[in-house]
């Protein structure tokens, strides 16, 4: 009940003309970014972050989170009308969304996608509202060993539960953690990994890396492919919206199942990609008409969109409550918090109530406004795709350069951005995931500080990470998740051995 009171306070913070206007600007920019091929949520947030540097933290985070919601909505437009998944998590939406558009049911498919996005996000935001304060309250009791154990759990679950080759995830993460350590060591005052360069004294700013890795590399990848588009146009009428909405109760099981999967994979760093595929596969498995999936079935749009958006939104829960982002975009938002001088984590709920509850309230409002906006403006946003990519690509490059320069007013960062652009392009092509890198770069120094403080406290005894039930459980769980693929295989092996014995 206390959460409800605080949420109303959040709405009160939000209802100013300035914040509402920023919310609209964020949503429009977000949908724009989502629709453009080669851009998406993380890129859009990273590139547009400098716009918020001169704002107060609440206005800034509201605008950025609305860019994120907008991008999530916008991605469905290209998936359904053009069969181009703007993001990896939109791939599953194309399976049934595009066939629906081919059958002349684009408006229904888009309404289903936007509605399920809204439902998924709403469930996750409600989870954040009621769960985050309790987790944050609990986390206030954490000391350095507990915090390091939670960081370890995050890193290990990325390795153990990720879909990519394990050694590639380890490479991505270790590289991110190492780069986070470049520059002045805040504890001893010693220089590390600078090789005599004055520019490296400041360290590697994670936003510069993110702009290069996501923005520049996406441009290179998009240019590589054929850019000719051929697709459908759709206008959503009130009648279409009503016909989809009145059928919603029929799909309650799919919506609930996908929301639960999404929330779970958002809080643990499984990610929206895994959530969307899992949502789709489970909808297919539980359906009585399995063979109709992939041929334009509306359930095939509901399931992945609900799961992906529940996951994308739930990823903000650990970011707010523990200071540990559950996704790449959440990591970028977390970096934004640090730029504005806020310390993400449990103390945020105590020290910056206006900020936290304003943000949570903006999630509700942003989703409602976003839903209305996309339902009414689909033709306008779809027509953005008529603009030739040769006009959009250099504009994105300029926006990236502005973003990278504005962070520290350093020309060196522009070169660093370009280098990361090439690294991102190569990494994406050889399957080295970028999300663990971003996460490690953001959390690196905090994880190291927690580790050092824990070790100093224990006089160098690693048993400190098993010194009480709480830290011991988290550390053990971290190792279980790290070795999960092996454990899973072992269980499978035992199961197979038992079968013939029982037979």
């Amino acid at each position: 009940m206390e959460a409800l009171g605080l949420l109303f306070h959040g709405f009160a913070v939000l209802f100013t003309w300035k914040i509402l206007a920023l919310m609209m600007v964020g949503l429009v920019l977000g949908i724009f970014v989502g629709v453009l091929p080669g851009l998406g949520g993380p890129n859009g947030v990273a590139i547009l972050l400098p716009l918020t540097f001169s704002m107060d933290p609440t206005s800034a985070i509201v605008m950025l989170s609305c860019i994120y919601w907008g991008a999530l909505f916008g991605g469905a437009i290209t998936s359904i009308l053009f069969n181009i998944p703007g993001e990896a998590w939109s791939v599953a939406t194309t399976f049934d969304g595009y066939p629906m558009a081919q059958q002349g049911k684009a408006a229904e498919a888009l309404t289903a996608a936007f509605t399920s996005s809204f439902i998924g996000s709403l469930v996750a935001v409600m989870l954040i509202t009621f769960l985050a304060p309790s987790i944050a309250g609990f986390a206030l009791k954490f000391g350095p060993p507990e915090f390091f154990a939670v960081y370890l759990l995050t890193f290990c679950s990325f390795v153990g539960l990720g879909r990519e080759a394990k050694h590639k995830t380890v490479i991505s993460m270790a590289l991110g953690l190492l780069l986070a350590g470049v520059g002045l060591d805040t504890v001893s005052g010693q220089l590390r990994m600078t090789f005599g360069s004055n520019d490296l004294l400041r360290g590697v700013n994670f936003l510069v890396a993110v702009i290069g890795l996501f923005g520049i590399s996406e441009i290179l990848l998009t240019m590589e492919e054929r850019l000719a588009l051929r697709g459908h146009a759709a206008r959503i009428s009130l009648r279409t919206v009503w016909s989809v909405w009145k059928d919603l109760p029929k799909y309650w099981a799919t919506l609930v199942r996908s929301s639960v999967i999404g929330c779970w994979l958002g809080i643990t760093p499984g990610g929206a990609i895994a959530a969307s595929f899992m949502g789709y596969n489970l909808a297919k498995r539980f359906s009585k008409e399995k063979e109709s999936f992939g041929k334009g079935r509306i359930e095939g749009v509901f399931a992945p969109e609900t799961a992906a958006h529940a996951s994308g939104t739930a990823a903000l829960l650990p970011m707010l409550a523990l200071g540990i982002p559950g996704s790449g975009t959440a990591a970028i938002l977390l970096g934004g918090l640090m730029v504005w001088g806020l310390n993400p984590g449990p103390l945020l709920f105590v020290e910056h109530k206006d900020f936290v509850w304003g943000l949570i309230a903006s999630m509700y409002l942003g989703n409602v406004v976003g839903l209305v906006l996309v339902l009414t403006t689909v033709p306008i946003f779809a027509s953005i795709l008529r603009v030739p990519f040769a006009a959009i690509a250099p504009m994105i490059v300029v926006s990236c350069a502005i973003g990278a320069y504005a962070i520290q007013n350093a020309m060196f960062d522009i070169w660093l951005m370009l280098l990361f652009g090439v690294v991102g392009y190569v990494f994406k092509k050889i399957g080295i995931p970028l999300a663990p890198f971003t996460l490690a770069l953001v959390l690196g120094s905090r994880a190291e500080d927690a580790f050092r403080l824990a070790m100093i406290g224990s006089g160098g005894d690693v048993k400190v990470f098993w010194s009480n039930g709480l830290v011991g459980s988290i550390t053990t769980l971290a190792f279980v998740l790290l070795f999960w693929p092996l454990i899973d295989k072992a269980f499978e092996g035992i199961g197979r051995l038992r079968k013939p014995a029982n037979a």
Partner: protein, 179 residues
Amino acid sequence: MAQDIEIVVEDPTAPDENSPAVTNTRTVELVVMALLLALAVLLGFDNWRTGASWDATGPEAGYFPFYLSVILGGAALYGLVTVAIKRTEGLETFVTRSQLRRVLQVFVPTLMFCLAMQWLGLYVASFLLISGFMAIIGKIAWWKSLLTAFIFVAIMFGTFDVAFDVIMPKGPLEAAFGR
């Protein structure tokens, strides 16, 4: 309701479907893993030099990054070995000649833009990049390209320099206008 094929965007410089491969993914992966291994050795050495053990106050500055270098090196070595012993038939193409040409069509102008920014400032360099890219690479009419570039740069200047007070690198043109 939907109408078929209403939005059509042609690509004047579309890559050739039958373009020969410049290199395969296996070779690139080998090179990347070798580079990562070398980086791990370099960073590991630097952290060892900084101090990778314990002193009276606790772990030294290089302690945490040293062990990360070891982990990075181990994973890169594993990657190198697994790629090296992988069967070589049916190799996946990393990039075709035509694709590489298109990637360079973006990368080279971006590189030149970064260089030009140092002497001409961000806004002039941006104007040159956008108009040049649209006209030369995109084969869009010059007047459209120049107008688009001018409008975009003016919006950027108005947004960042005037409205949000984010100071960008300036060149001789801005100096001539007293900014």
